[in-house]
Structure formats: structure tokens, C-alpha cells
């Protein structure tokens, strides 16, 4: 019956069909529950309750609330970026089309790239992690909750800045990568590129802040017993991604700082006549830009592992190989950037090292694919929409990865660089490799986040439309690139012969768009009207399923003690827990890094408006810097004052103090 969770570690046998676990009322007995939990729940609920009052929207620091805001906001930018893509496809559907002018098209393709790369792809991965990582780690909260709020507001303000500018005809128009000298003040008059430079500040500060929170949470706030060799694969992927963010983002912030400085103050970083170099930009930008795509892709690898585990009813094959492959991908990803610059005339020998590295990185990705196939081979697949999205991922991403190996080869790259072939490749790896797993995992975790189930039929339909539409849109672009169609062109002549494939791609884009709309509508409607979900409707193995759907604000009443990487499949009916955390203060258990032994307790702060005010003051500073360098000189001290108020120390009993190392009791649950 409903206590099927206990069957999985102990018995060999047929997996239970999932339907048994879809319960309408709460009758699941969590293995980590103890008698007397009801009163504890009352107290904890009060202690961990979100902000109340008229200004509560500005004061929230709860990771569930912020995670949902992050996800919703990122999807708003995704929708806008998708509309921009639709406009582009409309313009290119026929030769010599006059739907968009050259200037409009240039702004639109730049905005599409900037939106998807800076405002959607990285933030959505971080957003899902902000919500899910504490749950997967068995912790009460995400580290540094006020910083999480600050990073959300920075992300929001950056997006608003970009789109307000776009609607005022001031959207950036020199490509998402903004190459000088085209982006230099001589060739890009006005403030369009300055908007880009400041947007980068907003989004990268937001990304780095969340990355730091994730690193600390994953290393120091795991459930007792979750040693490094028991960390779920998605948590590993977010750890690696966060380290990559911390090392890669500063490069683009540096380059955008140099560009903003050139434009505002008259420096010569990218002015060859005065000793600067346009190639400096390319190196700095792509040193960020290549790891950026792995930052987008590696969380998706973790998501695929979660889905494959749950829907093949067995752990992913080759845990160690999977972890090491992700780590290797993260490291090697920093050594590939010059493959974006093969056509610039840099020496052959050096470039060839980057060819080798770019091919090398296919190996760890390949190992992961083989391990997943092995998992499917040895498991029993359940064909729910998340699993279909994973199958779509395998088909699309492997193809994208193979075209990536083609692009790694210098002679081939010299022909197809900056053509539609690259557009095809990047969408295969980003949509296939990141968006499909994202959509699958959002379907999988939707019950946990909202407490309701999504509609399966709509899920199947959206998958089918997306898969077919995607391939119809982007597969022809491989051919288009090979027959000479370059990127970033607002029109083309009928004599080139590119018309039919472009029309096909535009039709495919409509189908893809429809699929995305169905998926999003499924989400929105199910949020209000879906079937109520129980704690573990898909019989998932990891800790997030050990609490209610949606989880209470404090996640877990007692800290679960784990003994494997699929805790809920191994846990006995009454599993050990760690008790003793305060119910009066927001106490979180901090554990040791490698073995996750309980170490000490830390009290987290109450809701506060200071992160919002800090974001407003830094936001005003950055927006002012678009127009005058004095904004930076005046804004920085003001922002400093706000941050000082934020961190103003309070008396010991209140927030922000580590208590002494008290012993925490770890007892077997009373039978």
C-alpha cells in the first residue's frame, strides 16, 4: 500500500506501478517522522514563516518563495526571447522580406541572444537549484538567504532595464557578444551598447551570488550521512556549475567594464591605434563564453540523472564515472575558448591545441550518455513526460555534440563558422541539451513545488510538438550553413536558393513555439487546477520527496540521516534522524564537508527589506553609469552605506550568530 517506499532497498522484485503512489490525501508515512511532530510543526511553521505585512513582497528571504519568483521571472524572459525568435523566423521565412528593417532585425537578434543567454539559460538553472538544492541536501534553508533575495532583485532589475531600453529603441544591436570595434563608440553611437554592458553587471552579480550560496549549501549543509560519495548527481552538477560560474563570470564582467569604460570615459582598451586590441575582447569574452555554455549544460546533466533514476526505477549506472565526468567537463570547459576564434588568423599550432581540447571534452559527455543508456538497459522505463524529454535530449544532444566535434576541426570551422550551421549546432546542444532536460525536470518536480500534478496528456503533446518542431526548425540550418548562408543577416536574395529551407525552418519554429506554449499552459493551469499531489507521486528516491508537497517553509522537521544515494529507496520504515534543532530560532544544521557529520548549528536571519534596498541602490548606480561616470563615484558610497545597514550586527540572541557547539542528539526513531 502507501508504505511502498520501504520496499525498494530490501527486495528484489517488480517495481510498483506509479499510480499507487498518487495519493489524494496525506497518508504517506515519511520514514523520518517521529511521534509528536504535530506540535513541532506548529512551532517551526511560526518560526520559519515568511514575512507578513504590507511590504512583505520586498522582505522575503525564504528560498521557496525566491526560487519560485526566480523561475517565473526567468520564464517571462524566456517567453519574450521566444517572441523575438518568432519575429526573426518570420523575417527570414522569405527572401527579400520587408517585415523587419535592418536596424530592427539587428536589435531583435541581439536581444534574443542576450535574453536567452543572460536572462534565461543560466538563471533558470540557478532558480531550480535555489528551490531544490536545500531539499535534496536535507537542509532547512539555502545558505545566505538575504544574498539570495539580493541576487533575485538584481536579476529582475537587469531584465527590466534591458527590456525597457529595448522598447525605447535603445536595445543593444551589435550581437550578444558585442564585438569591438563594432561596439566601439565610433561605430555604435548612442547608449545601446552601454545598456548591454550594464545588463551584464546585473546578471553576473546575481549569478555569482547564487553560485556562492549553492557552493556553501552543498558543501556545508548536507544531511548527516550524505558523504561526498552519496551526494545525488544533480547536486554534484550544481556544485560544479557553481564553481564554474565563480571562475568564468569575472571574465565577462571585466570585458564589459573595459567596454563601458571605453565608451564612457574614453579609454582605449579596444582601440588599436592607441595600443588596444579587438582580439583582447574576444579572448576575454570567450573565456567566459565557452564555460557559460557548460554552465548551462551541466545542471541539465544532473537533471537527466534525477529523471533517469526515478523513471527507470534504479540508480544511474556508474556513479563514480558520472561524477568524475562532470568534473572533467567542468575543468576542460575552461580550455576551449579559442575555438570561437579560429577564423581570426591566429597561429595554427596554438589553435590545434584547442581543436584537441574541444574534441577531448566529448569523451566525458559520451561516458555519461553511455551510463544513462546502461541505466535504461538495466532498469524498467516508465514513459511519463519527464522520461520522454530525456529521450528527446539523448537524440538531440548527441547530434549537437557531434556537430560540435565537427566545429572543433579547424578546416571545417573555417567553412561553417558564423553560418547557420553554428546556429543549428548551438540550438541542438542548448535546447536539446539544456531545455529538454529542464522541461522534463520541471514536470518531475512540479508536484513538489506546487503540490499539484500536471496533466500527462498535455505533457505528451507538448513533448511531441517540441521534438518535431525543434528538428524541423534547426536541422535544415545545417544544410543552410554549408550552402553559404551566414548568420546575423536580416535578409537574403532569392537567387541564393536559401528560401525553401528557411521557410521550412520557420514552419518548424511555429510548431516548436506551439509546443512550448502547451507546456507552459499545462504548468499554469495545473498550478491552479491540477490533481493534488502527495509527498512522493513518482516514487522518487531523493530527500526532497521525504517531505510534503509543497514542502513546509522549514523543509524537514528532523534532519534525515542518509546511508546511500537513493535515501528513500533504502530507508527502513523508521529511519534515523537528527533532532534537537531549535524551534524558536531559524536554526540550520551545519555538517562537515566530506563526511557530512553534524558539526554545529547556525541561526539564519528573519525576513528583512535590506536586500531589496541594496539591489535598488546598486541598480541605480549601474543605470546611472550608462550616462555618466559620476554615477559610479557617487553611487558606490551610497550602496556601501546600504550594505552596512544590511550587515549591522545585532545582539547575540538574534540573527546571524553561530551558537556554541552543542551536542545534537542522534537517536533511533522510536518504533
Amino acid at each position: 500500500m502507501s508504505e511502498g517506499v520501504s520496499e525498494h532497498g530490501a527486495h528484489v522484485g517488480e517495481a510498483k506501478p506509479l499510480e499507487d503512489h498518487l495519493i489524494k490525501e496525506e497518508t504517506t508515512h515519511s520514514p523520518y517522522a517521529l511521534p509528536g511532530d504535530a506540535e513541532l510543526h506548529e512551532e517551526l511553521d511560526k518560526t520559519w514563516s515568511p514575512a507578513k505585512g504590507p511590504f512583505r513582497w520586498f522582505m522575503q528571504i525564504d528560498h521557496h518563495i525566491l526560487g519560485k519568483r526566480f523561475i517565473v521571472t526567468a520564464f517571462v524572459w524566456f517567453g519574450l526571447g521566444g517572441i523575438l525568435a518568432a519575429l526573426m523566423r518570420l523575417q527570414l521565412s522569405r527572401p527579400d522580406n520587408t517585415f523587419l528593417s535592418a536596424d530592427q532585425y539587428n536589435q531583435i537578434f541581439t536581444m534574443h541572444g542576450v535574453t536567452m543567454m543572460f536572462l534565461f539559460a543560466v538563471p533558470i538553472m540557478e532558480a531550480v537549484a535555489v528551490y531544490m538544492i536545500p531539499l535534496l541536501c536535507g537542509s532547512r534553508a539555502l545558505a545566505f538567504p538575504r544574498l539570495t533575495a539580493y541576487s533575485y532583485y538584481m536579476f529582475l532589475f537587469g531584465g527590466i532595464l534591458l527590456y525597457v531600453a529595448f522598447f525605447l529603441n535603445t536595445g543593444p544591436d551589435t550581437g550578444w557578444f558585442t564585438y569591438p570595434p563594432l561596439a566601439n563608440p565610433e561605430f555604435a553611437p548612442g547608449k545601446r551598447v552601454d545598456i548591454w554592458a550594464q545588463l551584464v553587471n546585473f546578471t553576473e552579480i546575481s549569478a555569482i551570488a547564487v553560485a556562492i550560496e549553492l557552493i556553501v549549501t552543498i558543501l556545508k549543509q548536507r544531511a548527516p550521512g550524505m558523504s561526498v560519495n552519496r551526494i545525488p548527481l544533480y547536486v554534484w552538477s550544481m556544485l560544479i556549475t557553481s564553481f564554474m560560474i565563480v571562475f568564468a563570470m569575472p571574465a565577462v564582467m571585466t570585458s564589459s567594464l573595459y567596454l563601458a569604460s571605453d565608451r564612457l570615459v574614453g579609454t582605449h582598451f579596444f582601440n588599436p591605434a592607441e595600443g588596444g586590441d579587438p582580439l583582447l575582447w574576444q579572448h576575454l569574452f570567450w573565456f567566459f563564453g565557452h564555460p557559460e555554455v557548460y554552465i548551462i549544460f551541466i545542471p541539465a546533466l544532473g537533471m537527466v540523472s534525477q529523471i533517469v533514476t526515478a523513471f527507470c526505477r534504479r540508480p544511474v549506472f556508474g556513479y563514480t564515472a558520472m561524477v568524475l565526468s562532470q568534473v572533467a567537463t567542468g575543468f576542460i570547459g575552461f580550455g576551449l575558448w579559442v575555438h570561437h576564434m579560429f577564423a581570426t588568423g591566429i597561429p595554427q599550432l596554438g589553435s590545434s591545441y584547442f581543436t584537441a581540447a574541444s574534441m577531448l571534452i566529448a569523451i566525458p559527455s559520451g561516458i555519461q550518455i553511455f551510463c544513462w543508456i546502461a541505466t535504461i538497459w538495466m532498469g524498467k522505463p516508465i514513459y511519463k513526460p519527464p522520461f520522454l524529454f530525456v529521450l528527446g535530449f539523448i537524440a538531440i544532444f548527441v547530434l549537437g555534440g557531434l556537430t560540435g566535434v565537427m566545429l572543433a576541426s579547424i578546416p571545417l570551422d573555417l567553412q561553417v563558422h558564423d553560418t547557420m550551421f553554428v546556429v543549428a549546432h548551438l540550438h541542438y546542444v542548448l535546447i536539446g541539451g539544456a531545455v529538454f532536460p529542464l522541461f522534463g525536470v520541471l514536470y518531475y518536480w512540479f508536484p513538489k513545488i506546487t503540490g499539484r500534478m500536471q496533466n500527462d496528456t498535455a505533457g505528451y503533446v507538448s513533448f511531441a510538438l517540441m521534438f518535431i518542431g525543434f528538428n524541423l526548425t534547426f536541422f535544415p540550418m545545417h544544410k543552410l550553413g554549408l550552402i553559404g548562408m551566414t548568420r546575423r543577416i536580416y535578409t537574403y536574395h532569392p537567387e541564393t536558393g536559401w528560401g525553401p529551407l528557411n521557410s521550412l525552418a520557420s514552419i518548424g519554429a511555429a510548431v516548436l513555439g506551439l509546443g512550448v506554449i502547451v507546456y507552459i499552459l499545462n504548468g499554469l493551469i495545473s498550478w491552479k487546477k491540477g490533481a493534488i499531489a502527495g509527498a512522493n507521486p513518482f516514487d522518487g528516491p531523493t530527500l526532497e520527496w521525504a517531505t510534503s508537497s509543497p514542502p513546509p517553509h522549514y523543509n524537514f522537521i528532523h534532519m534525515p540521516v542518509v546511508s546511500g544515494h537513493e535515501p528513500l529507496w533504502h530507508a527502513p520504515e523508521h529511519a534515523p534522524v537528527v533532532t534537537g534543532l531549535s524551534t524558536k530560532d531559524k536554526e540550520v544544521l551545519i555538517t562537515r564537508t566530506f563526511d557530512a557529520e553534524p558539526d554545529h548549528r547556525y541561526t539564519y536571519p528573519k525576513p528583512t527589506p535590506w536586500p531589496f534596498l541594496a539591489a535598488v541602490s546598486t541598480g541605480i548606480m549601474f543605470v546611472g553609469t550608462i550616462f555618466t561616470p559620476w554615477a559610479f563615484a557617487i553611487g558606490l558610497p551610497i550602496a556601501a552605506v546600504v550594505v552596512i545597514c544590511w550587515f549591522w550586527p545585532t545582539t547575540p540572541e538574534k540573527e546571524g550568530e553561530a551558537t556554541e557547539e552543542k551536542s545534537v542528539s542522534e537517536r533511533e526513531a522510536v518504533a
Partner: protein, 313 residues
């Protein structure tokens, strides 16, 4: 025009080598993808007597290891093929025709070099090369980054301002007309920055070079003479050069042998009088943002001006 801007229809030695490498990569990638899909489908469809949740199977582990090993070997083979081709297409011949191409927003300034300075000449937006003879282009940019690309003949090379000219060599092995296009986003009219490469057998090429070295033809009819007068009195000489006349502007394309070109405005329009008239009177409508201004002419000046320009063969 199909197939003349295609990497899949090579007409030169270097493009041929790249196309062959492409075939190798394409076949390998197709086989790999099909194998992955095959195993995935097999994994989905296989009959399962029972599942053992935490089982490890030595057979499966060996299969994964073998697949990894095969991946490494395949990548190594592809890497080797790639490096050999890289070296193959980069070989520099002893003698080659030297052409300096400068990318400007949004057209191509072309100068044929020669050790004898008096034999050098300038044209725009078109290259004519002999069949079977290597051509070395020296690439510069006058403003932003452009990229010189003729897919039928070779890969592309970026033209980066502030750097010494970037050189590479290609050759056409078949007579024909090939189209090239700027391949690095360079501003409003990046889409309309194309150029033509005409490959001629050597004798015809030599004749073409001789003709290009001559100054412009003297207008022979009354209308053409009037047109020349209109040209000189209009803004035209401020930007354009016509060898043999006082027009000596350096910022726009050289018009000395304009009538022999296939296209106007860097491959944007065919070189026919209707397009030419539109280009002169309202360039900003035909190629908005380009640096050719819209010129106001008096009534009755357009026809002679076009007649004159059409005489500049």
C-alpha cells in the same frame, strides 16, 4: 546562382580538401549517432525478466568501457585527419597573384598588387582570378571586423582593424563565377556585403588585367559627355575615383571600370540601369544605412549620368 556559394560544391584545391574532410566527419558522426540511437532503442525495448535495482553487471560495465574506448579512438582519428587537412590547406606556394582586399562598411576595396607600381590597379566588390594559379589575399579592415569568405574556394578569414594584413592563399580549379559574402557581423548592412570571384582561363584573365590597368574610357557620345559633366559637378568626385579624370575621391569604390561589374552595392543589386538609377537617387532606400548618400539631381541629368557610367567598361 545555386551552388556558387556552397562549401559542398568545391571549385578549388583548398575547398576540395575541406569538403573531403567534411565527408569523413559526416559519415563518422552519422554512424555514431545511429549507434547511440540503436542502443537506446534496444535498451528501451528489451525484455526484462526482473530488475535488480542495485545490480552491477560486468557485461554492461565492459560495454560502457568499450564504448568509451571506441570514442577515444574515433576522436583521435578525426583529430589526426583534421590536423593533416589544416596543414594541407595552409601551404603557401612560391608564386601567387597578390591581391589586397580591405573590408569597409559595407563593401570591398580590392587592389591588385604588382612589383611594378605602375601596373597596380584598384577595383571594388569583385575579384577576377586565373584558373589553376594560386592567389594570395592580404586582408585588412578599415573600420570594424569583417570576414572574407568564398565557400566554393576556401574557408574564411577575419579582417581585423589595427592588425597587419592577414594573408591566405586559395586557387580556383574550374572556370566559373563564385559568390562570397562577409561572414562577421559588421553593422546595419552586413547582410548585403557580398562579392563576386570570377575565375577565367589564363589568356582571358591576362586580357582582363590589361584592360583594368587602363584609365577610364573617354566618353564617345554627347550624352555620355554630358553625363561626365554631371558626374563632376555632383557630389560624386568627393568620394569616387575614375582614373583619367579629375575625380579622385578615396572613400568610396573606384568606378573606373564600373560597367564591367556584375553588381552594384557589393552584390546587392544586379548592375542594370534601373537599379543604378535607384541607387544614385535614393541609396538610403535601397540599402538603408549604407554610406552612399541619396543624391538630388536636376531634371534631365539622370539619363546622361547613367549613360556615362554605363560607358565605363
Amino acid at each position: 546562382m545555386r551552388g556558387i556559394q556552397s562549401a559542398l560544391e568545391p571549385a578549388g584545391a583548398q575547398a576540395e580538401q575541406i569538403a573531403r574532410l567534411w565527408d569523413v566527419f559526416l559519415i563518422t558522426a552519422t554512424v555514431v549517432w545511429l549507434l547511440v540511437m540503436l542502443f537506446t532503442i534496444a535498451a528501451l525495448l528489451r525484455r526484462r525478466p526482473e530488475i535488480v535495482p542495485n545490480a552491477t553487471s560486468p557485461r554492461v560495465r565492459n560495454a560502457v568501457v568499450a564504448a568509451t574506448g571506441l570514442t577515444v579512438l574515433t576522436l583521435f582519428a578525426l583529430l589526426t585527419a583534421s590536423i593533416f587537412t589544416t596543414r594541407g590547406i595552409a601551404s603557401v606556394p612560391d608564386r601567387a597573384i597578390q591581391i589586397a582586399v580591405t573590408g569597409k562598411q559595407w563593401w570591398w576595396h580590392v587592389e591588385y598588387d604588382d612589383r611594378d607600381k605602375s601596373k597596380r590597379f584598384t577595383t571594388a566588390n569583385e575579384l577576377t582570378i586565373p584558373v589553376g594559379v594560386p592567389v594570395t589575399v592580404h586582408l585588412r579592415s578599415a573600420d570594424v571586423i569583417h570576414s572574407f569568405w568564398v565557400p566554393s574556394l576556401h574557408g574564411k578569414r577575419d579582417m581585423i582593424p589595427g592588425k597587419p594584413p592577414s594573408t591566405f592563399t586559395f586557387q580556383a580549379d574550374k572556370p566559373g563565377v563564385y559568390r562570397g559574402q562577409c561572414a562577421e557581423f559588421c553593422g546595419y548592412q552586413h547582410a548585403n556585403m557580398a562579392f563576386w570571384v570570377t575565375a577565367l582561363p589564363w589568356p582571358e584573365y591576362a586580357r582582363w588585367v590589361e584592360a583594368s590597368r587602363q584609365p577610364s574610357r573617354i566618353p564617345s557620345t554627347h550624352t555620355q559627355r554630358k553625363g561626365q559633366e554631371v558626374f563632376m559637378n555632383s557630389p560624386c568626385p568627393l568620394c569616387h575615383t575614375i582614373q583619367g579624370t579629375p575625380a579622385n575621391g578615396k572613400t568610396g569604390p573606384d568606378l573606373t571600370h564600373f560597367a564591367s561589374r556584375r553588381s552594384i552595392a557589393a552584390g546587392t543589386f544586379p548592375n542594370r540601369r534601373g537599379f543604378l538609377a535607384g541607387w544614385i537617387l535614393d541609396a538610403q532606400h535601397m540599402k538603408p544605412g549604407s554610406q552612399m548618400p541619396s543624391i538630388t539631381l536636376d531634371q534631365g541629368d539622370l539619363e546622361p549620368l547613367i549613360a556615362y557610367l554605363e560607358s565605363l567598361k
